[in-house]
Structures are given as structure tokens and as C-alpha cells.
Amino acid sequence: MAVPAIERQPRCFEWPQFFKLILLLGVLALAIAHLPNDIWDAANGVLALSLGGIAAWRYCWWLTHFVRSQIYGRLVFPKLRRRAGALWSGGWRPSMIHFMVVTFREKPHVTEQMLDSILQECRTTGIPARIFVGTGDVSDERVIENHLAGQPTDLPVEVIIVRQNQPGKRFAISRVLCAISRHGIHRGDLVVFMDGDSILTGGVIEKCAPLFALNPKLGAVTTNEEAVVLGPRWMQAWWDLRFAQRRLAMQSHSLSRKVLTLTGRLSIFRAEYVVDEDFICTIEADHLNHWLWGDFRFLSGDDKSSWFWLLRNGQDMLYVPDAFAFTIESIDGNGYQRVQQNLLRWSGNMLRNGSRALALGPRRCGAFIWWCLLDQRLAIWTMLTGPVAALSLSLALGPAVLVAYLIWVLATRVLLSLVLYFYAGRIYPSFPFLLYANQLLGSIIKVHLLFHISRQRWVNRGDQASHHEAGRLFHFQKAMAGYVTALYVVVLFFLTSIAAGVIEWRGVWSAALEWLGQ
């Protein structure tokens, strides 16, 4: 495969995409104009006050994030950038940069581009660096050795390859962190956490490192990202949508000097934290005790583990919007399955870490971040109220309600997409559809995972999956998880139907008495 040149695309305005968007808006306007008026008769006060209230809450929450994001992006961060730039210009440099890279049977050209980007940073900044590469296979090591053999040798860079002796990314990171510790760190050293498919853009170190000098409480920063999808075109749109949402959310969170994840693709940590035994243990053997599934280890979500460790220890975390990394997504198989698997993995990580982070309380997390954590869990259900209400109303009033709901969905998602186009830097007419599908699928997956929280699978890393011992206990756990999930879903349907006015609620006792009285 030819190695594509990876460069950051500037914000662009594409007329064809714009016209498609206008066409979509036109269709939407026509649909609204020709919607039967009596559809909304059913949406009486109850529906408006309950589901309308939920909708208002959700969109106000979006608006809140947007406003905070703008405050961070336009007011707070530029000041920080100026101070960091002044520090860097004044000659301040970290004593050493440690690159913690884990890779697993990555495509050679991706590995090569990743190494080139690191070496380029080292060359540009002139800071001594050690590149610790955690590998899982000799093929990765050969690619690295062969590629580095052709590199100029005048760089103050040492490359240490640590092959993992246990399966899993967490073990790989743990071993690399131990190696970093063994090699010794100095106060002020920084450790750059990278995936094998992440590629640094120029100036990442320059933009991120001084921030640590400016804020002694800063534990880590995470950067802006862009995806280069080697696969279906719609997946590029989907990744751009995800990253646009990420930019919006990250900037909003960062205003509280916390973020909700330190992505494993590229985050920079203060070195003294990452060689802490507890940190390494958390990365290597992070686990959760669930009432149903007992004690189980996390397979993926090392970035969430590191984030949780810093959050628990009260460290600040920042999002650096002008520092970019590329992630290269090679989609060889079915894109839909890949999306589903990614959502399954991310949702699981969010659920597994969200509950314990919430337990830290608003004082430790910060009120806004704590509420965001809570909101992540509430949003699972609030998102589903719309389709569930539409379904139940359609059962009562006919399928025309579904049409009305779809128009409502399209209208609201178009509005949200107009915001996301700003963060994506381009127009995708498919955003409204992808956004809704992403929200709906995400919520369904999260509902499923709520009580199947130990279920994990990581296709990217050799299709790792959590294994449970078969047996009576496992069958009980599986049945119980299914039962509780069904219970929650039924309650959701029931409550939503009451809120939508499909079911008239008049109390259990009253109904029971009537039936018993017959």
C-alpha cells in the first residue's frame, strides 16, 4: 500500500457539500410544512412538559457546552498559549522527553510515519528523548529497527524496545512504564503516551510542554486529533463527527481544568506520576468490583485508567486544541461492525470508569466535571425517551407519529450539526443522520453494557476479549444481567408512555382495587 502523505487539512468550504446541506434543509422544510397538523394534538400538555422538558434540558446542556467551549477556545486558552509561547521562546525546555509508544502488528507504513513524526519533533525541539516502544511481536520490532537504521544518527534520541510478556495493551504499557522507571527520570521530565497508529504534527511538544512548567498541578494534557480513515468514506465522516464532538466537549471540560479522558492516541504526562507504582498498577491491573460480575479486570480503557488515577489524585488536566495528532484508522472489514465495536469499547470504558469517578464526589472532581460524569449516565436514558415515546405514541395513534418524530429528529440534528460543522471545519450533509445513529446506537449499547459491564472485546489488538468461565455462576450472571436490562428497558417504556400520555397513570392501588372489585 502506498504511503499517503498525512497533513493536516485546513478548514475548507466545499460548495457541493453546501448545496447538499441546502437540499437537506429544503426537504426538511417541506416535510414540516406537509406534516399533518393533528399529529401534535396527541402531544398535549403531558408530553410537552415531560418529554419536551427533557429535550429542552438536553439542548440547553449542548448550548452550555458550546458556550463554555467558546470561552475556553477564545478567551482562556489564547492567554495560556501566549504565556506558554513566551516561556518556550525564553529557552525553557524539559530536561528529557520520554515517548511511551505501544504498537501491535501495526501496518509498517503507519509505524514508520509514527516514528518519523517523533524523530521530527525531537529534531525540531532538540530535547533529549528516549523512545520506549512496547511491542507485541517481532514483526513490529523489525519494522522499527529497519526504519531507524536508515535515520541520521545525530539525534539525542535513544530507542528502547520492550516486548510484552503478557497479552494486552495494559501489560505493554505497564512494562514500558517500568522500563522508563528503571532508566530513570528527572523532575520536569515529560512522558508522551502514544498509540502505534498516532502521528504527531509539528510543534506538539512545543505547544504542550511549557504548559507543565506554567502549572505545577498539571498532571497531563491531551491534544486535538484528526482521523485519517483508510476505508469507507462515510467512516471518515463518522470519525470527523466524533472528533468534532470531542473538540466541543473537551474545550468545555477543560475550562474546569479537567477533561473526561486522556486519550491513549496522544497524551502527555508529568513523568514523576507515570512511574508511580500505583499508577503503573492501575494501568496494568485496573479492575472493578461489580455486584453481579464480581471482581474483573479491564481489558481496554488504559486511557481512562490513567485519567482516573490523575483525577483521584487531584491533578489538573488540560486540552490543547492547537496541538494535533493524527490517528490512522485502517478499515479492512465491515465498517459498521467496526463502528459498533468501537462504540461497545468506548461505552464500556465510560461506564466502568464513570461510576467510580462519580464516587469521588464533586469536591474532588470539580462540580461541573462531576455533573458531566453524572450526565453521561443520565443521557443514556434521556436519549432513548424520544424514540420510545414515538414508538408508544405510534402504537396508540398510528404510524404518522413516527413520521413526525423523524422530522423532529432531523430538524434537531441538523441544528446540532450546524454547530458541529464549525468544530469539524467542513460540511458533511451526513452529520445529522450519523449523529442520531451514533446517539441511538450508543445509548442502546450503553443500556446493554450497564449490566454486562464485564463484557469486553478489543478487535484492534488481536481480537482480545474478556473470558468468563462457563458454569452455573456464569449462566446465572448472564441470565440476571439480561433480566435486569429487560427490567430497566420495560420501566423506561412504561414511564415514557405515561409521560407521553399514551398510558393514563392513576395509581397502582386505584387500578388494583378496580380489578379486585370486579
Partner: protein
């Protein structure tokens, strides 16, 4: 680092290189040789008294080229085994950490060797990381198991509760209908003012029980007071006039008496003058005779005779004058005695006129007194009294306030009137309520539940106000949403003891719980299924419920009747049906014919016209059965659907007995007439009839007979077996009082003195006999009485001895049947045909012929039924 180097490093859990170079740990004054050490910790030989997790204060010593480098440090015991104790440094300073790391790096890189020339070596991989971060102990496992069991149990309990709640709610939603906009009501009467005036007194308060005739309130009527005052003034004036006239007449009498005295005196004078004049004439006459004899004797001269003669004539004239004056005096006396006085020239005196005037004045006084006397009862009538025993439900005004004519002042609830429930559902809800269904009424104020039954459903009741409001007062259209409670349902309490009934005060809020007629989620599906069922049924006839199953009409083929007379009847039926095809249905909301005395009343006329629909329907259904033509049946369907949509049966037996044709026709149409609206109408009718309350007379006369006929037919048609048995028992009881006489005469005949009513009563009994098979003997007797009374006593005048005021009123109002007349047996055509239809009965040919001649359109159906009732051999 000038070159780019690549180093392979063994993966290890150790965060620091571990070396076994000489080092010592000074602990509590005792030196221990380090078995191995690193920047993170060390291992020494076991030390007694030291436990796991214990923090040690120590000095770490390194012998570097003969110099001992040592520093104080803290460490925590992390492992104790038989041959070693391992501890990790705690809070080691950066300087100390850097020192140890530097030593180990140098030793590993070869920059250093151990003093004892011991080989340095790289640490080998540590133990593999455990798969579970924290190996679970038995205790932990047990704890986990208990936790899991408790949570799972709670979820199972929650599931059962939630499932129960949901199932209950869903069942409630899909199968039950709850109406909270309902209220207890009762037959209430408003006591309305007939006067304009002031409410002088109110004698009752809400909640008071009153007896019939008890005063409720008194009104000072402005008009009555004014009339009374006027009457009094009139009397006063009449009396004054009378007094004046009497005074004048008295004066006149006095004058007259004077006149009479004068007249008498004048008469005496005149008489005296006559006497004197007579004496003078007599003397003059004697003198003249003497003179004449003297002259004849010639004694005296003729001149002297002439002179004597002139004197005599003069004296005679004076006598006549005196006599005339006496006559005048006599006349004067006579007229004075009559009240006048002759003044000499004309009569003087007003006594006669004054006498006449006085008489007139007296009459005027008498009239005024009578008028005044008439006003006093009117005043008394302004006290309004309770028309019956009852309960005061409301009093709208208090004493001293003004009232207008037609204004309601007191609301009375009759004692013994049963309470019912007024419910106001939405249009959608009204569509789900079925007449006759039972439900539950919860009355929060009493905290009681009662079994109730739907009597009537009216989806237009909520619009009545709009319909009745003049358009000028309502110049705009009014929006009505699907949730507006614009329909009306009336429900009766199914079983309430009289004592409980008293507690059910009108106005109490009611929460109704009723079964829904159909699932709202699957209306389309139901329609489809319904349509399919209809299609499958097709023309298949359902077993009749009123007609005998062996009637030729249900043989599946066109009925063949051997009797040649039937052909003309058949033709007449078809002709009538053809005419009915062209007549649009004219249903009325409430029938209003019974007891009406005003033939020009539009409601009466509409009801009479509406009765034709019943006849049309029966004939169309019959024609459809005779010919198999769908247009007849479709037309019949349109009629009955129009009625089902509009008519609100009241249960009034005389009005609604005329709708009997619908029941016969519906039975003929069978499944083809199955329609929820029609079924609901029949249920409404049945509920209303069942709720009908009779008066003291109507409980025994033809009203009750027709009531039972309607109920029995409805029971059979709707398949209400238990009700049918009950109503049949009632009919048998009623028979004893309504047809009690051995001669077959009915109670109605004696009450009305009219065969008209005997036949009317008999018609209902015949239908009962046909439908139930009961009461044969009594019906035979009654028919025999009709026949013999009509044929043997044709001179009898109908209604001549009726005790019913209605008959007189109707006769006066021009109702032809109520006029005194002899009865024409032709009018009993229907009774004759129906009697002939009864199994085993024979009507002689002459009577049948008479009936046929008198047959009218309403009897045609019954004549055809005679031929078609059963298969006749």
C-alpha cells in the same frame, strides 16, 4: 548520546534495577547485610519481631571504594519469608533516589563491580502479573456471593412489583375506561316563580324535607298588589258616588214631599172652587128656568131671559174652569206621588233619575267589592307550596330579593326518586362506552363503591348549549378538541338500598370505572376482522330470536305460501316497501306523543311522523326477506342507523311501543343488522325502559302492558335470559290485574269506557303471547270480549264514561278517536291479525274480511306476519 541507538530490554515488572552488590541496612542498631537492593527497596535476612506492613526507620549503607555512603531512610516491610525480609523505601528523597539509581546503573552498565568481586547481573523477569488484580480470599468470595444474592433478590422483587404494576396499568388502559368528570344527579324539579316581584319569605333551607303542600316561599307579586290597590280604589270611588247620589236623592225627596203637600192643597182648593162654581151654576140655572118660565109666561121680557141665559153660561164656564183646575191639581198630586212635581208648565224633580243613578252606583260598589274579593285569593296563591313530598336540594335566593317571572327559586328532589349519575366523557371516550354495561362508581365523599349500569350515551349533549344559543349571541365558531368533554353518559345505580340512596346526594363527585367496548390500539385490526367476519357470514341467516325458526322466511329460499290470499298481501308489502325506499328516515331525539293534547305541537307531529319509520323499517326488512333484495335491507339499515345515532329512548312505554317494528325488523335482518351503534341504541332503550317509573294508574293499565311487551322483546332480541325470566314473571303478575275479568274485559276498557283502549291493550298482550307463549287463556278471553262487544253492542258510545281527563281533553282538542262515537271493528285490524297469528287460533272469515277492509299501513306488517309466522301445513 550522539548516535541513534536501539536497545532491547527484557520486560520486567521492576521499576528499578536490582543488584546484589554489598550494602548494609542498619536497623535498631543491628547491621544486616542486604541480600539484594535497588532504588526502590531491599531484601535482608529475616528479622524477628518485624511484621508485614511495619514501617522501619533505618540507615542504608553502601561501601564505595572504602568509603561508606549512608543515608537515613524509611521503608515498609512488604514481604517476609523464611529466609528473607523485603522492604520498599518510602518517601525516598530525590537525592537519595538518584544516588541509588546511579549506583545500580553503573553496576549494571559495568561501570561498577561489587567489592567482593561478585558478578553483577540484570534482574530476571519477575513473576508474571496476576490475572486478577487482587486474588480473592474465601471471605471476600463469600461476601461477594452474599452481595450478589441480595442484589439479585432485590431486583427479582422489583421485577415482580414493576411487572405487576405494568400489567395492571396496561390492563387498565386497554380494557377499562375511567371518567372523573361525573356527578350524582337525581330527578329534580325547579320551583319557578310565576310572578315579578319581591321574595317576601323563604320557608325552607337546603336539606329540609318537605311534605306535599308545605309552603316553600312567598312572593309579593308586583302586579297582584297593583291589582289589589286598583280594586280597592275602585270600590272606594264607587262608594263615594253612591253616597253623593243618595244625598241628592234625599234632598229631592224632601222637595217632593213639599211638592206633594202643595199639590194636595191645590187640589183641595180646586175642588172647593168646583163646588162653588157648581153651586153658582145651579143657582144660575134655577134663576134662568124661572126667568124662562116667566118669559114664557111672558112675564118678563126676552131681554131678561137672555141676560139670565148669559149668566148661566158664564157660570157653567166658570164651573168647567174649576173642574179643569181640579184635574190639574189631581195630576199634580199624582205626579208628586211618583216623584215629580208639575210646576204648572212642566214637571220638576230628579228623584226617578237619582233612583236609577243610585242603583247603578250600588251595582258599581258591588262589582268593586267582588273584584277586591277576587284579589285576595290571588294574594294567597303567591305562597308557593311543595307539590310532593321531597327534599329541598337548593334554594337560589334569600328573602327580600327581587324575582322575575320564570326564575327558579327552589330545587326539589322527590322523595323516593332514585339517584343516577351524569358523566361527561370526551368524544373518544364516549365511543368506547356501551349502553347496558356495568361498571363501578367510586364516590370519594362517602368512600364507597357502587355497581352502576350505563343507561344512555349522548355524544351531542355537550353541544346543546351551543345549539340552543342564538347565533347573535355566539358570533364565532367554537373550537372543540378531542379532549373536550362534550359527550354525556347517564348511569343508574344497579343495586342501592333505599337507605343508601338517601346518602347519595346530588352533586357528589363520582369517579367512574367502566369496561371499554374495544381495544383502542387495534381499531383497524378489529375493523378488518369485523369486515372479514361479515363477509364470511355473507347472506347466512342468524337464528331468529323473535320469529319462530320454522317460519318460511328462514328456510333459506324464497318463502312459498300456499294461501292464495297471501299474494295480494305480499304485493301490498312490496308496494309499501317501494314507497318506503323513497322516504328518508326522520328520527327524533326524544319521542313526544303520549299524553299530548295539542295536535299542532311540532314535537307531537314529528313524533307521529317518526313512528312511520318503524313501520317502514319492518316492511323493508320483511320485503328484503321475501325477495332477497339488498336495496330493501340497505334502506332498512339506513333507517335504523339514523335512529341509533339520534334517538334517546326515555322508557315512556306508550311512545316507544310504536317502535316495535324496529325489533321485528331487526330480528328479520339478523346478523346483517349487527352494528355497535344499533346494539348500543337497543341497550339504551332497554336500560331506559327498565328505569321507567309508573304512576298509580299506569302501573296497572295498558302502559304497563306495553312496557312489558317492549322489555320482553328486547330481552329476547338481546339475549338477556335472566332479565327475560324476570320480565315474564312480571307479565304474569300484571295479567291478573290488567285482564282480571271473566268476560275478558280489560282494566283499560272500564277505565276509558272504550273498546279502542281495550284493543290497544290487547295488541300488546298478543305480542307478549307470540313472543313468550304465555297468557293464552286471558288473551283468548280479551279477544272474545272485543269481538262480542264490538259486534253485539254496536250502539255503545266510545269514551262516554271515561274517567281519564286526557280523553276529554283530547276530544276537546279535536282528536277524532276520542270523540263520542260507536266503535268500528275495522279499527281492530291489527289485533285481529295478531290474534290469528297466535298458534292454534282461528278467526272466522267474516271477521278476517272486516279486518282486511280496515287494514291500514301499520297493520299490513301484522297481516303478512300472519301468513309467515310458522310453516303451515
Amino acid at each position: 548520546m550522539a548516535t541513534l541507538t536501539v536497545v532491547h530490554e527484557t520486560p520486567s515488572q521492576r521499576r528499578s534495577y536490582r543488584v546484589s552488590s554489598p550494602a548494609e541496612v542498619l536497623l535498631s542498631g543491628v547491621r544486616y547485610r542486604a541480600r539484594d537492593w535497588s532504588a526502590g527497596g531491599f531484601s535482608i535476612d529475616p528479622v524477628e519481631g518485624r511484621g508485614l506492613g511495619e514501617q522501619l526507620r533505618l540507615t542504608f549503607c553502601l561501601n564505595f571504594q572504602g568509603f561508606e555512603i549512608s543515608f537515613p531512610a524509611s521503608a515498609e516491610v512488604v514481604r517476609i519469608s523464611e529466609d528473607s525480609l523485603a522492604a520498599k523505601f518510602i518517601d525516598l528523597g530525590e537525592r537519595e533516589s538518584e544516588l541509588l539509581r546511579s549506583f545500580t546503573s553503573s553496576i549494571i552498565s559495568g561501570e561498577m563491580t561489587s567489592v567482593g568481586n561478585l558478578l553483577t547481573r540484570m534482574d530476571s523477569p519477575a513473576l508474571p502479573a496476576p490475572v486478577t488484580a487482587k486474588p480473592e480470599s474465601r471471605k471476600t468470595e463469600r461476601k461477594q456471593r452474599v452481595r450478589r444474592t441480595i442484589r439479585a433478590g432485590l431486583y427479582l422483587i422489583a421485577g415482580v412489583i414493576v411487572g405487576g404494576v405494568i400489567l395492571l396499568t396496561l390492563a387498565d388502559v386497554f380494557f377499562r375506561l375511567r371518567i372523573d368528570t361525573a356527578v350524582i344527579s337525581a330527578a329534580l324539579d325547579q320551583m319557578v316563580s310565576q310572578d315579578v316581584g319581591k321574595l317576601a319569605e323563604v320557608f325552607v333551607e337546603p336539606g329540609n324535607r318537605v311534605r306535599a303542600g308545605q309552603p316553600l316561599f312567598r312572593i309579593e307579586s308586583e302586579m297582584v298588589v297593583r291589582d289589589l290597590q286598583a280594586a280597592r280604589a275602585e270600590l272606594e270611588e264607587a262608594r263615594i258616588v253612591l253616597g253623593e247620589i243618595q244625598a241628592r236623592r234625599q234632598q229631592e225627596n224632601q222637595r217632593l214631599q213639599a211638592y206633594q203637600a202643595i199639590s194636595r192643597d191645590q187640589l183641595e182648593l180646586a175642588r172647593a172652587r168646583v163646588t162653588a162654581a157648581t153651586a153658582e151654576r145651579d143657582a144660575g140655572k134655577t134663576e134662568f128656568e124661572r126667568t124662562r118660565k116667566l118669559f114664557e109666561w111672558g112675564i118678563i121680557a126676552a131681554q131678561l131671559v137672555d141676560s139670565q141665559k148669559a149668566n148661566l153660561e158664564k157660570e157653567e164656564a166658570q164651573l168647567r174652569q174649576a173642574i179643569a183646575e181640579q184635574r190639574i191639581a189631581e195630576t199634580s198630586v199624582e205626579t208628586a206621588n211618583r216623584g215629580s212635581f208639575f210646576s204648572g208648565n212642566f214637571l220638576v224633580g230628579d228623584v226617578p233619575r237619582l233612583a236609577v243613578d243610585e242603583g247603578a252606583a250600588r251595582e258599581r260598589v258591588a262589582a268593586a267589592e267582588k273584584a277586591l274579593a277576587q284579589q285576595f285569593p290571588r294574594v294567597a296563591e303567591r305562597t308557593y307550596r311543595a307539590p310532593y313530598d321531597g327534599l329541598v336540594a337548593r334554594v337560589f335566593k334569600s328573602a327580600g330579593t327581587t324575582v322575575d317571572r320564570g326564575e327558579a327559586l327552589v330545587v326539589l328532589r322527590r322523595t323516593g326518586s332514585e339517584p343516577y349519575i351524569d358523566a361527561y366523557p370526551t368524544q373518544e371516550e364516549a365511543d368506547r362506552v356501551q349502553a347496558g354495561t356495568h361498571g363501578t362508581a367510586f364516590i370519594p365523599a362517602l368512600n364507597q363503591r357502587y355497581d352502576v349500569q350505563v343507561m344512555s350515551i349522548d355524544r351531542t349533549a355537550g353541544f346543546l348549549r351551543d345549539m340552543q344559543t342564538p347565533h347573535l349571541l355566539q358570533p364565532q365558531y367554537t373550537w372543540r378538541g378531542i379532549n373536550d368533554r362534550s359527550a354525556y353518559v347517564k348511569l343508574a345505580f344497579a343495586s342501592v338500598a333505599p337507605a343508601e340512596s338517601v346518602a347519595l346526594s346530588p352533586g357528589l363527585p363520582v369517579h367512574l370505572d367502566l369496561p371499554k367496548t374495544r381495544n383502542p390500539l387495534l381499531p383497524a385490526l378489529i375493523r378488518v376482522v369485523h369486515a372479514e367476519t361479515e363477509e364470511k357470514k355473507g347472506e347466512a341467516a342468524r337464528a331468529p330470536r323473535l320469529w319462530p325458526p320454522d317460519s318460511p322466511l328462514f328456510s333459506g329460499v324464497a318463502p312459498r305460501i300456499a294461501d292464495p290470499r297471501f299474494q295480494s298481501v305480499r304485493k301490498a308489502v312490496l308496494d309499501a316497501a317501494d314507497r318506503a325506499l323513497r322516504v328518508p328516515p326522520a328520527p327524533v331525539r326524544v319521542l313526544s306523543s303520549a299524553g299530548a293534547t295539542d295536535k299542532s305541537d311540532p314535537a307531537f307531529q314529528q313524533s307521529r311522523r317518526a313512528f312511520d319509520d318503524s313501520d317502514h323499517f319492518a316492511l323493508l326488512a320483511l320485503a328484503g326477506s321475501l325477495t332477497g333484495r339488498s336495496d330493501y335491507r340497505d334502506a332498512a339499515g339506513r333507517i335504523v342507523q339514523a335512529w341509533a345515532a339520534l334517538n334517546q329512548p326515555t322508557g315512556q312505554p306508550i311512545d316507544e311501543t310504536r317502535l316495535e317494528g324496529f325489533l321485528w325488523g331487526l330480528d328479520l335482518l339478523g346478523a346483517r343488522a349487527d352494528d355497535p351503534a344499533v346494539a348500543a341504541w337497543l341497550e339504551r332503550w332497554r336500560a331506559a325502559a327498565r328505569a321507567w317509573r309508573f304512576g298509580p294508574k299506569t302501573a296497572y293499565n295498558n302502559h304497563k302492558t306495553h312496557h312489558l311487551k317492549t322489555l320482553l322483546m328486547l330481552d329476547k332480541l338481546l339475549g338477556r335470559k335472566s332479565d327475560y325470566q324476570k320480565d315474564l314473571r312480571d307479565a304474569e303478575e300484571h295479567l291478573k290485574v290488567n285482564l282480571p275479568n271473566a268476560d275478558g274485559s280489560s282494566l283499560d276498557y272500564h277505565e276509558r269506557d272504550a273498546l279502542h283502549y281495550h284493543a290497544f291493550d290487547l295488541e300488546a298482550w298478543e305480542e307478549i303471547a307470540l313472543v313468550t307463549g304465555c297468557c293464552d287463556t286471558a288473551v283468548d278471553r280479551a279477544f272474545g270480549f272485543l269481538r262480542s262487544a264490538a259486534l253485539d253492542h254496536p250502539e255503545h258510545l266510545e269514551f262516554s264514561g271515561s274517567t281519564a281527563p286526557l280523553d276529554r281533553k283530547r276530544a276537546a282538542a279535536g282528536f277524532e278517536y276520542a270523540q263520542p262515537h260507536t266503535y268500528d271493528i275495522q279499527k281492530a285490524a291489527r289485533a285481529i291479525f295478531s290474534y290469528a297469528t297466535l298458534p292454534g287460533r282461528r278467526v272466522d272469515a267474516e271477521l278476517y274480511r272486516v279486518a282486511e277492509q280496515g287494514r291500514q299501513s301499520d297493520a299490513l306488517f301484522y297481516q303478512a306476519r300472519y301468513y309467515l309466522w310458522q310453516s303451515r301445513q
